[in-house]
Amino acid sequence: MTLFRLLRTTTFRLALLYLALFLVSVLVLLSFVYWTTAGVATRQTDETIQAEVTGLAEQYRLRGLGGLSDIVTERSRNQRYSLYLLTGPGGFALAGNLTAWPEAKEDVLGWLDFEYRRQVGGEAETHHARARHLTLGSDFNLLVGRDIEERQRIEQALRVSLAWAVALTLGLGLLGGILFSRNVLARIETITRTARDIMAGDLHRRVPRNGSDDEIDRLAASLNYMFDEIERLVTSMREVTDNIAPDLRSPLNRMRNRLEVTLMRDADVAEYRAALDETVADVAALLDTFNALLAIARAEAGRPEGAALPFDLSAAVVDMVELYEPVAEEKSIALSRDIAAGVTLTGHRQLISQAFGNLIDNAIKYTPANGTVSVVVRRVGIGCELIVADTGPGIPEADRERVLDRFVRLEASRNSPGSGLGLSLVRAVARLHCAELALGDNLPGLRVTLRFPADALVHRTISPP
């Protein structure tokens, strides 16, 4: 992972943004600290000078120039940081501990910032000072100030440490941001790699989870759920392709052979007609298979015909039972029904009728003469249940899952007509309506139960398992 790529990541950009915000708040905080320490010291110095100026002006008013000169001389001796200079006409120094009037320019209020030389332990040092200028009459001037060298050194030290604090904040923040985004990035990178592997054909790959249940972990769970779905769909599609091939090829081959053999020699009209009639019948059967596959595929893709609407399930079942009643009667099969009235369902009436038709069709087909086929519709809790039970041979438990797949026909039923798609459609329709499809034992016979939830098809919610 190069630094350049790191800089382009969203996580890192977020970390940077956060760092910038943090930096601004640190700067505001430090400015406040600086202002309350260094600023207060500066103001105190000014106030002290101002107070002294006021005091000396008062002395000058009370005791005149002589008195002021005495006080200045007195204070110049005792005070360590105070600076004084009283000058007479021509700038001549009369009293004070400054040797000459500083050259610095004063502001409108009479304040001056200047440097002066001072003897410290036998050596001359240049010190910073601040002072205020007071004009006494026309020829005399008084300068009252303070040595601020020490204060300035403290301020300087404060500034250096504050700068360090900012630099440290910046450095640690950047480092933290890089580490943080590298961690998130590594996890996202894993997801990307897994997705690429799956795209490359390895459908079994899943995103590893760390169990923390944080956003990325939950994302991983959802993705894994999606990958499960994709694998299921792709697998079933592969099965379809594998299964369709022989089931569609055999009739096509039969047709081709028949047509070729008929063309080999001159036949009479009746023979040609017979061959064509058989071919038309074969094509019709092929198209039926084709249409059944399409219906299953559409239901499985969750994109069925029309919209899901509430309809009277009881009435739809009664209609279908009546459609099959004569067929059952011809086979001497009793078709019993126990259908609760007014059971409604939100879904696709045509598809559910077709699926139920397939169930009842199978039941009648596989039940021997004098057997019974029973149809039950009843409310179960807030949902409902549709049961088709027969007294036929049933399906061995081991085969029950398998018969729901396309084109699967058990050995026992190889010779009876049918495409092997009936139950596949039932399963697809059940899935579409979030219904539970159960194949059970009717002792003897098969008992198929379709259990619809209350809010069938209202929402196909996708939640991680």
Binding site: D277, D288, Q350, D361
Partner: protein, 252 residues
Amino acid sequence: MSVFDGAGFFAPVIGLSKPAGVVYSSLMRILVIEDDRQASAYMVKGLAESGHTADNAADGEEGYEMASHGDYDVLVVDRMLPKLDGLKLVGQLRAEGLRTPILFLSALGDVDDRVKGLRAGGDDYLVKPYAFSELLARIEALARRRNPAEVESKLKVADLELDCLTRRVIRSGRDIALQPREFRLLEYLMRNAGHVVTRTMLLEHVWDYHFDPQTNVIDVHISRLRAKIDRDFETPLLHTVRGAGYCLRDSF
């Protein structure tokens, strides 16, 4: 030429390839708007062999021109056409007041799609692949609907009478008791008397199913109905048309 098979009671089976055996609707002019040249060529040929005249338009615009200027009894319109989509084409024709019955052909089989087609002004909808006999039966049924005489409440075919109001069925003066669904089946057959009615048409109109059940249950219902209306009488009225469907008619 009629070929008899053993199924049902006294069930005459009529070969489809001999339209002389069945009186299809009298000559009609049909416009086929379909861009698949081969498909439309077979359709035109099949319609001609059945005694009708058929023209072909290969795209939506040509179809629109021909439909608005020619005098046709039925239009057969493919849903997906170059230049002008089938739905829009029909919408425009209907907006201009054209009332010719229209049969949509489509490779899309959704009910939604069917509904869209019918809303746009189509009168019937047939999903590809379809059997030619199905197409023919539906075209002829549409043509019959063109001038719907008042919906009669009393129907009569030979000596068979059906009264929609009293729900009574009488043949040669004898009452015949029918189940409600059998009554609707017979009513539909009688309203289309003399014409071929396919299994799919019966499923759609009598049962309201837009799919084919696995087993041909319609045959069983027809043979039951036949047992009730034909068994005790000399002349059979309900005939099976091989490869196509059924036909209720007096005699050949």
